[in-house]
Amino acid sequence: MLEHYFPILVLLGAALAIGGGAMGFSYLVGPKRPYHEKLDQYECGFAPLGRIRMRFDVRFYLIAIIFIVFDIEAAFLFPWAVAFESIGLIGFIEMMLFLSVLLVGYAYVWKKGALEWE
């Protein structure tokens, strides 16, 4: 089973080599002359007024939660698809039931306008 994952391991190694190489090489070769203004947060010419960390709108969070729910729904689809032949019609009906319950949630979210972004 593990030999199927060998290409992924190669990809992982290549990604690490390229990403780490680019960052490490520029760290080694590039000039480093830091001073306070350079390391400060960026403002257009004047001294920074506030702290750099600002609060995010709660709407980002809402989108993320909606995403999680449908992500988990997709996760349930994987074993269903793999075992589809052995669980038969009952498995199919079950999954349709599962999906229709979440479809109700989707309709609710849509109707409420939670997917809208002004």
Binding site: M1, L2, Y5, L9, R53, M54, R55, F56, V58, R59, F60, Y61, L62, A64, I65, I66, F67, I68, V69, D71, I72, E73, A74, A75, F76, F78, P79, W80, A81, V82, A83, F84, S86, I87, I90, G91, E94, M95, L97, F98, L99, V101, L102, V104, G105, Y106, Y108, V109, K112, G113, A114, E116, E118
Partner: protein, 196 residues
């Protein structure tokens, strides 16, 4: 399988180090990124154990969604983390107690049931297939309940955080397209010299 051993120790080391990074990083955003790394290397460990489905879920749900959620929480709270850090030393003994209890539990489980999992009477080695065959036959009812739990979570999230914003200019494409020349344009004959 020497290679698998080497890869195991590689992933295990990265997992432990990034777990330490989660606790020790000074910037909370870095903590969350270390958490993502810990998730990823744990997924690698799962693959080495043959638990492909768990690995896929870890990458898809935990790294893709839960970590992002954590990141949003960290960014939204706007807490003075240096202050929090100074106080967190007080909770260190309690943390050690919790960690010790969990370690003892794991040790007990390993001592009593070495290498033995939940037996579902399925003799195939394909992990995902075994989960599918068990989940959609024997655990049919919990599976359907899971959909209701997800529905509750969805509705709860919308009810708690969503509020209609009035007084914003929203683009409504169908209204725009439904406009015709007749109801949008008005032509008036203005006498010369009379126009305001």
């Amino acid at each position: 399988m020497m290679v698998a051993d080497v890869i195991f120790y590689l992933f295990a080391t990265v997992t432990v180090l990034s777990a330490l990074g989660v606790v020790g990083a000074r910037n909370p955003v870095h903590s969350v990124l270390f958490l993502v790394l810990a998730f990823f290397s744990t997924a690698g460990l799962f693959v080495l154990m043959g638990a492909e489905f768990l690995a896929a879920i870890l990458v898809m749900v935990y790294m893709g969604a839960v970590a992002i959620l954590f990141l949003f929480v960290v960014m939204m709270l706007d807490v003075d983390f240096s202050m929090l850090r100074r106080e967190s030393v007080r909770y260190l003994p309690m943390g050690f107690v919790v960690g010790a209890v969990m370690l003892a539990e794991l040790g007990l489980m390993m001592a009593h049931h070495p290498g033995e999992g939940l037996h579902l009477g399925l003799d195939n080695t394909d992990n995902t297939l075994a989960i599918g065959q068990a989940l959609y036959t024997r655990f049919l009812y919990p599976f359907e309940v899971a959909s209701l739990i997800l529905l509750v979570a969805l509705i709860g999230a919308v009810a708690l955080t969503h509020r209609e914003r009035k007084r914003v200019h929203r683009q409504d494409i169908s209204t725009q397209l439904a406009r015709t020349k007749e109801d949008a344009v008005e032509l008036r004959k203005v006498a010369s010299g009379e126009g305001a």
